[in-house]
Symmetry: C2
Subunit: 375 residues, 2 copies
């Protein structure tokens, strides 16, 4: 990017919202503009965001309101006029936009004579490699996740088993919702917000994105997947454990042990220079060898039906992907390793940790025991 | 839209994500495609989302995975190939995209020979007028909001006042964070998730989007703005109250009474057929008359520095806007009425309710007392 070219980002779509957060330190619920030039960043926010933007934005970011740039009347909130005014104050003549920039606004800019093109490169490739500051923020979020996980598992462990295998807390049937509420409250105590946390038992757990509802049952696998965002820093945590209240049948235990072994093998392979695809293959091969195939059965995809992991940062899913991505791991990547197996009739198992890639391998962001049967 | 044209939406940007939710009943954390044709809707989701998508999607929506459409190998996750396969199965030849569609993917579609243009019309203008079902969902979210508001206010009211005007719960100083945590926990008990809830006192409250932090102080206005999303339905609530622990000085009381009067006057004007601008003007004029001007002072915008309200639904901010929008209210609109005044040194006051426009005027979605001084 030369001196006369700027990259304009509009918040409200992925990944521009978090790219702006990363580049400027600022984020807001309503759409706002950020112009990146070779010399710095320019935020355009509403008057009522200005104070907060000035406080939160990083060095090198200048904050403007439309009024500061001389926009008046109907022009004040016209995005084309705002972008033009930002270009003027920054002294740039040509614009690039990110891949996720809204096509409608792009066409309007073109029509109004703005020289604009789509930047072929990802906006913040450097986000893949976390700074020490970011790792410490991610560690805090992951510690909150582990605390909530332990609370949720202890709650299930404390339940009584009724005659029909229903679980009870006192006289009340234990439900996915009750466990989820406890987890979310624990996250709040750690300044994190949990949304869509998964507590899914039995066949519900065989649908990896089913959040889970209704009574939990003894002897079935229960997947708990917690991925909260820090209200303070915006960074996410991500962890999954699978438990079974009371004894599990031998086939379900075999399923659990296969996933546990796959996660251990995958983690062992994590180090700088390895291709993420290889880590994914390790899990695939181990499952195949242990007699847990991935296939379509009765119109449903069963087995290992998702990737092995993903990057975690200001987005819950970001680069590098740990699947068939061709990406090579680097020191400072923060990734999840989360193999899983899903067979309706038998159950679902997933075990996930978030780790940082180090010189010699990897390091957990937070520890949490892996124990299947809660007896 | 004719039989051979389809509208393609990609989740991940606003407002497409919630438009897909509205049209199909389905939503997911990761990007997915939805094709709307003259005869129905077509969801394209990953294999692991298929079960949930089939359960949650509305009548007339067909659910596919890339594999169902015959995509294999590298083509499986290529969005252009996915869109082409969806067009084939739906029998459409031409595509429209929404205004917020990513420009990068739009250009790739064009390059690959897909006949594609930007739809000039908003995707779901009907979202402005809520159905009875939607109103009942919004009412539930707003009742949760009111319950959390009452809990938060009762907590502040229960605090003791120390010799230096600090507030205490037992021996601990009462902070914004403590009130926010209690509010978020109460929301969880009502199946709602609160994020970025504002509990801001003193000069913090003069920055309308400042969330608030640190110790709260007696005799200062404290703005509490709660806007949770139902985890069950996806619909939002929105409510603001301003309180003062202990007596307020006469000038601060005047400020509060002006905002309360403005909200009452604005609400009185709400009815079908009125232009939203007129409601905004009522607040502006009342503030002017009572000696609370809107202006720039010491580089900061003070007074009534935001709109009077906004629509609430699957998005926290949606149409119709109650500001200088030119929009005419209709029966079934669900809007906030939330005038506010902000003067550093004196304090900030905002009072907000969410109401539904009825044949004869308006009706609160949930009730909650408005009382300033907590003595």
């Amino acid at each position: 990017m030369n001196r006369l070219t700027g990259l304009i980002l509009l918040s409200g779509s992925a990944p521009s919202t978090t790219n702006i957060h990363y580049l400027s330190g600022f984020t807001a619920p309503d759409p706002f503009l950020f112009l990146k030039t070779s010399t710095g960043g320019y935020l355009l926010v509403s008057p009522m965001e200005k104070g907060r933007a000035e406080k939160q934005s990083t060095v090198g970011t200048r904050v403007f309101t439309p009024q500061d740039l001389g926009l008046k009347g109907k022009k004040t909130w016209n995005q084309v006029e705002q972008i033009r005014a930002l270009m003027d104050v920054a002294g740039v003549r040509r614009l690039q936009v990110s891949h996720d920039f809204p096509v409608g606004l792009f066409h309007t800019l073109e029509k109004k004579g703005v020289k604009v093109s789509v930047d072929k490169n990802p906006t913040c490739p450097e986000r893949k490699v976390k700074t020490a500051d970011e790792i410490s923020r991610l560690r805090k979020s992951q510690k909150a996740t582990a605390a909530a996980m332990k609370a949720g598992i202890a709650f299930i462990a404390s339940s009584g088993i009724g005659s029909k295998k229903d679980l009870y807390i006192g006289k009340e049937k234990l439900t996915s919702e009750m466990v989820r509420q406890l987890i979310h409250k624990t996250l709040i105590d750690h300044d994190c917000a949990g949304v869509e946390t998964i507590v899914a038992g039995g066949d519900q757990a065989t649908d990896p994105h089913e959040r889970g509802y209704g009574p939990l049952v003894a002897g079935e696998s229960i997947i708990i997947d917690i991925f909260p965002r820090s209200e303070k820093t915006g960074y996410w945590g991500d962890m999954t454990r699978t438990v079974c209240r009371g004894p599990a049948n031998p086939e379900l235990k075999k399923l659990y042990n296969a996933v546990k072994a796959a996660q251990a093998a995958a983690l062992k392979a994590v180090k700088p220079g390895i291709c993420a695809d290889d880590i994914h293959c390790i899990c695939q091969e181990l499952f195949q060898k242990r007699g847990f195939p991935t296939m379509e059965k009765d119109g449903k995809h069963v087995g290992f039906i998702h990737g092995t992991g993903h990057g975690v940062g200001l987005d819950i899913h970001e680069l590098p992907r740990v699947g068939k991505s061709g990406e090579v791991l680097e020191v400072g990547n923060v990734i999840t390793i989360e193999p899983g197996l899903y067979y309706p009739g038998l159950g679902g198992v997933r075990i996930e940790d978030t780790v940082v890639v180090t010189e010699t391998g990897y390091s957990y962001l937070a520890a949490c025991p892996k124990k299947f049967e809660l007896l």
